[in-house]
């Protein structure tokens, strides 16, 4: 029971990235627990319980998400900062506009929290998976590789692109010249 309570918010949050509504996310989490509990005799301790549980959850959520709506494209491979912002030599022509000081302001910080949530939802699905597990849920890169069954290098590329997009979005919304 404690395990259920402890992982519930994380699981709902993860599932919500794949399915159209909170209600469907709840269903996916319930299915994942059933899958987890049904398979518990096969759990051999090769990964942590959390890794195993999240892997089951993501597999369920992916399947459900495909059923519920068409899938998002697998993330494009454009540069992390638009090339037009650099000069011919590769130096900043349109440098990053400052905004980080705004997090000190309570109202601005609330707006940013809202904005980053929305931006997270707009990330290509594989980037969102990695950024959510790493930066929202706080898993290590090893754990993320275990959950998503991807290589370290792949994990890093997806993390880089996802984080870069989130930063760009925050700069677009809150940066000032």
């Amino acid at each position: 029971m404690m395990l259920v309570q402890r992982y519930r918010p994380s699981m709902i949050r993860l599932a919500a990235g794949y399915v159209p509504s909170q209600a469907v996310a709840e269903e996916v989490v319930q299915e994942a627990w059933l899958g987890f509990l049904n398979g518990i005799s096969r759990f051999e301790g090769r990964s942590s319980v959390r890794t195993w549980l999240f892997r089951i959850l993501i597999n369920r959520a992916r399947t459900t998400g495909i059923r519920e709506r068409r899938t998002t494209a697998v993330g494009n491979l454009t540069a992390t900062v638009d090339a037009s912002r650099f000069d011919a030599a590769g130096n900043w022509a349109a440098p990053p506009q400052p905004w980080t000081d705004l997090v000190e302001d309570r109202l601005a910080a609330q707006a940013m929290a809202k904005a980053i949530r929305a931006a997270m939802a707009d990330l290509p699905v594989r980037q969102r998976e990695v950024v959510t597990l790493r930066d929202v849920e706080g898993l290590s890169s090893e754990e993320v590789c275990g959950v998503l069954e991807i290589t370290e290098a792949n994990q890093r590329v997806l993390l880089h692109r996802g984080r870069s997009r989130l930063r760009q979005m925050l700069e677009s919304d809150f940066g000032r010249a």
């Binding site: 709902i12 992390t80 440098p95 990053p96 929202v136 930063r167």
Partner: protein, 90 residues
Amino acid sequence: MRLRISARRDLVCQQAVELVTEYLEETLSRADRRRFERHLAGCPHCTEYLAQMRTTIALAGQITPDDLTPEMRADFITLYQSWKDDDNSG
């Protein structure tokens, strides 16, 4: 996706921003790390960029789920308990 960087030349900004995640993950080679830090030391814009990435990561870490209604929570717990009871009796 790793950029090929000439060993002798200094980084330009466009290369530096592509190394930020590897820098934060501490997966850069010692030589690349030195080159990256040397670039930052002379480039306020890339220093700002790195600070923005760190703040972005910190903001992502503060995301919390929408609060669930007590009814949804109760439903979930009931379902879980009935499943457990079934399993124990069967």
